[in-house]
């Protein structure tokens, strides 16, 4: 009798937990990263599930934002993209600026920008409706998210620990994305898994 009660309690608890997670809209470090499908700047459809087994980086981008410029004009972001895609990481640049807002670009404009800046992400996801941004609660550009090969979110936050628009500050900064990827690839837990992202607010549609 007692064990039946215990069992049913467990079941009820489990059900409650499950339903709670099912309804929770929030993105949380340590939890499964929400699945998404999006179109890239070449018109290809990219979905998170197809990259199971690989590390995935999401980089929120707004080419007019001084904080994004800091990392592109200095070449810092391109260097990161080169370094980590070479190690098998899938790197998605995400543009969530709405039409008419700062940072909004057409696919052609973006491709021209990539060529001009020598940027080498795996793909640029075009998100003018802000769906992907809202799904991940992206707040700023640049905001960085790292997903591990099991689909778990392992880092969410700033690109580094110098929240300024000044390229001078890149040298000597601690890069959280590199740290997270290095640690996770070595099978270690990510030390700093959550920081306050800095930068310009993502220009969502009103």
């Amino acid at each position: 009798m007692v064990s039946i009660i215990r069992l049913s309690t467990c079941a009820a608890l489990a059900a409650a937990l499950l339903s709670a997670s099912a309804f929770a809209q929030d993105v949380r470090v340590g939890a499964p990263a929400p699945a998404f499908t999006a179109t890239d700047s070449h018109g290809q459809t990219e979905s998170l599930t197809q990259f199971r087994g690989k590390f995935v980086v999401l980089e929120w981008h707004n080419q007019g934002c001084p904080y994004t410029k800091k990392h592109y004009v200095s070449g810092n972001m391109q260097a990161l993209q080169k370094e980590w895609t070479a190690k098998g990481v899938v790197w998605f640049t995400v543009i969530s600026s709405a039409r008419g807002q700062q940072g909004y670009v057409t696919p052609d404009q973006e491709n021209a920008y990539l060529a001009q800046m020598h940027a080498v992400p795996t793909a640029v996801l075009m998100d003018p409706e802000g769906k992907l941004g809202r799904l991940y609660s992206a707040k700023t550009t640049p905001q960085m998210i790292v997903i591990d090969p099991t689909g778990k979110l392992i880092y969410d936050g700033a690109i580094d620990d110098r929240p300024t628009p000044d390229p001078e500050d890149i040298r000597g900064a601690r890069n959280y994305v590199s740290d997270a990827l290095t640690e996770a690839m070595a099978g270690k837990p990510v030390q700093t898994a959550f920081t306050r992202p800095y930068g310009c607010g993502v220009k969502y549609p009103d």
Partner: protein
């Protein structure tokens, strides 16, 4: 001759030097004008100097608070300073919530001053010093523009301490914006939080019903910033529901930040986690620490549900508190969730404690003496005495409840301590205590002679005596109970009659408990010492706190009603002393008793009649004094000044409202406050509700108030007036009128400086 340059040239070059450094103390960048504000032209060694970093921002753009919210960055400043001079960190006024699509930022629009301090060491070299700063900031609308500038000012370091000349432009900015930093919570007010499923519940017991509240977290990663913050109604403060950041895994040990309440009141808080035990201790402490801080309005302003209204001056000390302590009033009243059980428990404890109050102790002491004397009486008689004493206390409290409830039903405006608004009550109380003190001190024996007064009845043998001791205990306890009971009664009065009744009953039982315990347990009476000379000595000693209480009441009267009232009161003290002398000198003579009785009746009559006259005259003095500043209120006058674009402050007051008087004396009529009014070109209107006035009543009702004091500040461009707190300090008022939006102050400045 060697010193000539330092003595003469310093001030000269100061004037000459001004245009030179004026060019670099500020910078104009896209959408902002940034400026170093250092009002003092020279520093004294070993002292600090106020300074600030000022931003004027284009409309629609904003700069950020220290926690910028979801995006953005606060301004930073890096100094290059000569040896011996150090600059403190920038301090941040309370920000605004700035929504940006689904995001929420915290920052400032129009203009903001970040104050900081220069510290000048004794070792600093006298002469000119260059203060150089690298400033960077982020200014955003929808898009963001980072900016930086190098700013510097030159100031003197004086060889010998002297008063610095203030540079008028810097001083003006500092005066206008320097006082906007959040204050620490007033003593006794506490902020606590409890984790909830979604986040946190933040509770602050400000002592009044809060209708607006916003919390700005100091930590960047604690809250879900855009989530609405839900204010739950609480009678004596606020309960704010906050949603936590989804990534927050462990609960914080404290919740730090700034809370902004209605009327622009901002406080720096560090809320502690609240456990059930802590909550209980907090409530008790709040209730016990009553005398210094003050429940401004035990029952809350009649904003909505509260059946009774603002309770202008719950207690005399409450009303006076603002004059002694600068921090704004709010009170240590138990927080919102004060349940019935807790309230009655608290009331009982409170009743117990009342026995130790200087006003009550002598009464209990008299009772104790009678116990010692009646040590031989039979047990059941003692017990009956105890019961009758309890009945006396209960009946008095119930009578009080009845009065309160019937007044409440009749829609009268009162709170606990309403009797203190009555100068008649204050005068009678002071007289009674003084007379009682004389008797205790040994001038005469109450019991032997006079008939009729409570004291005599209390000393009467038999049950009537016990009953009236109870009544006397309640009556003389009032001066001490008022502040203490604010908490429990604030709760009780806002509840149903049954609850009010229960709380008062618990209080009465608490007050009666020690004596009843003695009478029920004869074993304990044996512990009482034998009668002897010590009883007289002790009795005389007890006269001291009684006189002290009389002094306090005299001060309250003098404070509120002026020197004439004090003169009348002291005269009545003299008459009482003469009556006492007759009673003491010729204790058995009928004629002496008769003379004393006549004097007493005369004093009582004078106490009832004189205050009205005196108040009338003191009012006329005040109004003629203040004629220049205050005009009589009328709705038309408000409209007229509004149409001129001037801010208008309306003082809703009444001569019987003690806290109104105190507010006027300690705040509104202070020269510094009057100057602030002039500076901001505020039109001052006084709505006198002493005899009631339908137009005023209706205006008050439209403001959500049903009584005085009320202070409404009409700001140009705002449909609804801002309401100031019910207990004013000069700081609150100055803040309120210097806090006006740019348009208002500009037009004000234009109006006051027509050149």
């Amino acid at each position: 001759m060697r010193f000539f340059p330092t003595i003469l040239v310093l001030p000269l070059s100061l004037v000459a030097g001004l245009p030179a450094h004026a060019t670099t103390d500020s910078a104009d960048a896209p959408h902002v004008h940034v400026q170093l504000v250092v009002p003092a032209s020279s520093f004294n060694r070993g002292e600090g100097a106020d300074a600030g970093l000022y931003f004027r921002i284009d409309p629609g753009w904003h700069v950020y608070w220290k926690n910028a919210g979801d995006a953005g960055e606060p301004p930073h400043i890096k100094w290059t300073l000569p040896d011996g001079i150090a600059a403190g960190p920038l301090e941040f006024p309370a920000p605004k919530r700035l929504p940006l699509g689904p995001l929420m930022d915290f920052g400032y629009e129009n203009e903001v001053l970040f104050p900081f301090n220069f510290n000048v060491a004794q070792t600093a070299k006298p002469g000119w010093v260059l203060l150089h700063a690298k400033v960077d900031w982020l200014v955003c609308q929808a898009s963001c523009i980072p900016g930086k500038a190098e700013l510097e000012v030159t100031r003197g370091v004086s060889e010998h301490p002297r008063r610095a000349v203030l540079l008028s432009t810097d001083e003006a900015i500092f005066k206008r914006l320097g006082g906007r930093l959040p204050r620490p919570l007033p003593a006794g007010v506490q902020a606590v939080f409890q984790p909830t499923q979604q986040g946190f519940q933040l509770s602050i017991n400000t002592g009044r019903k809060e209708t607006e509240a916003a919390f700005f977290p100091a930590d960047t990663e604690i809250l879900d910033n855009p989530a609405p913050q839900t204010l739950e109604p609480a009678e004596t403060g606020l309960v704010l529901d906050l949603k936590k950041d989804a990534n927050l895994s462990a609960n914080p040990t404290e919740l730090k930040g700034v809370v902004e309440l209605s009327g622009g009141r901002t406080y720096e808080i560090a809320a502690q986690p609240e456990t059930a035990l802590k909550a209980a201790v907090k409530n008790l402490k709040a209730a016990l620490s009553a005398p210094s801080p003050a429940p401004t309005s035990a029952p809350s302003p009649g904003v909505n549900t509260a059946p009774i209204s603002p309770a202008p001056a719950p207690t005399a000390p409450a009303a006076i508190a603002p004059s002694i302590s600068t921090p704004p009033q709010p009170a240590p009243t138990p927080s919102s969730g004060l349940g019935l059980l807790r309230a009655t428990g608290l009331a009982f404890l409170g009743g117990l404690l009342l026995n130790l109050m200087p006003c009550v102790f002598p009464v209990l002491f008299l009772k104790g003496l009678s116990l010692v004397n009646s040590g031989n009486e039979k047990r059941h008689e003692l017990r009956t005495h105890g019961m009758v004493y309890t009945a006396g206390i209960l009946v008095s409290f119930w009578a009080l409840v009845a009065v309160l409830l019937s007044l409440k039903a009749a829609g009268a405006i009162l709170g606990w301590g309403f009797q203190f608004q009555s100068p008649v009550f204050l005068a009678l109380m002071a007289g009674l205590l003084f007379f009682f003190g004389l008797s205790l001190a040994g001038q005469f024996e109450i019991g032997l002679t006079i008939t009729g007064a409570g004291g005599t009845l209390a000393r009467k043998q038999g049950y009537t005596g016990s009953f009236f001791t109870g009544v006397l205990a309640v009556v003389v306890a009032t001066p001490c109970t008022a502040p203490f009971m604010g908490a429990a009664l604030g709760y009780a009065l806002a509840q149903s009659a049954a609850v009010t009744f229960a709380v008062f009953t618990a209080l009465a039982l608490g007050l009666a408990a020690p004596y009843v315990a003695l009478t029920l347990q004869p074993a304990w009476t044996r512990l009482l010492p034998k009668p002897g000379v010590w009883m007289d000595v002790l009795k005389q000693a007890v006269a001291v706190p009684i006189f002290a209480t009389a002094i306090w009441l005299a001060w309250v009267l003098a404070r509120a009603y002026g020197a004439d009232m004090l003169l009348a009161l002291l005269t009545s003290f003299l008459l009482l002393a003469i009556a006492g002398w007759f009673l003491g000198r010729w204790p058995t003579k009928r004629w002496a008793t008769a003379i004393a009785a006549v004097i007493l009746i005369g004093v009582v009559a004078a106490s009832i009649l004189a205050p009205r006259k005196l108040i009338a005259s003191s009012r006329s003095v005040v109004s003629s004094e203040a004629q220049g500043a205050w005009e009589p209120w009328s709705a038309a006058a408000v409209t007229r000044y509004q149409s001129q674009g001037r801010p208008v402050l309306v003082d809703f007051t009444a001569s019987w409202c003690l806290s109104c008087q105190v507010n006027e004396r300690v705040a509104l009529d202070q020269p510094s406050v009057q100057k602030a009014f002039q500076d901001s070109n505020v039109a001052l209107l006084k709505a006198d509700w002493t005899r009631g006035d339908d137009a005023i009543t209706q205006t008050l009702a439209s403001l959500g108030r049903s009584g005085v004091p009320a202070y409404a500040l009409y700001v140009p461009g705002e449909a609804q007036p801002r309401l100031l707190p019910e207990a004013l300090t000069p700081g609150i008022v100055i803040d309120a009128v210097t806090n006006l939006p740019k348009a208002a102050t500009q037009s004000a400045a234009a109006a006051s400086n027509p050149k």
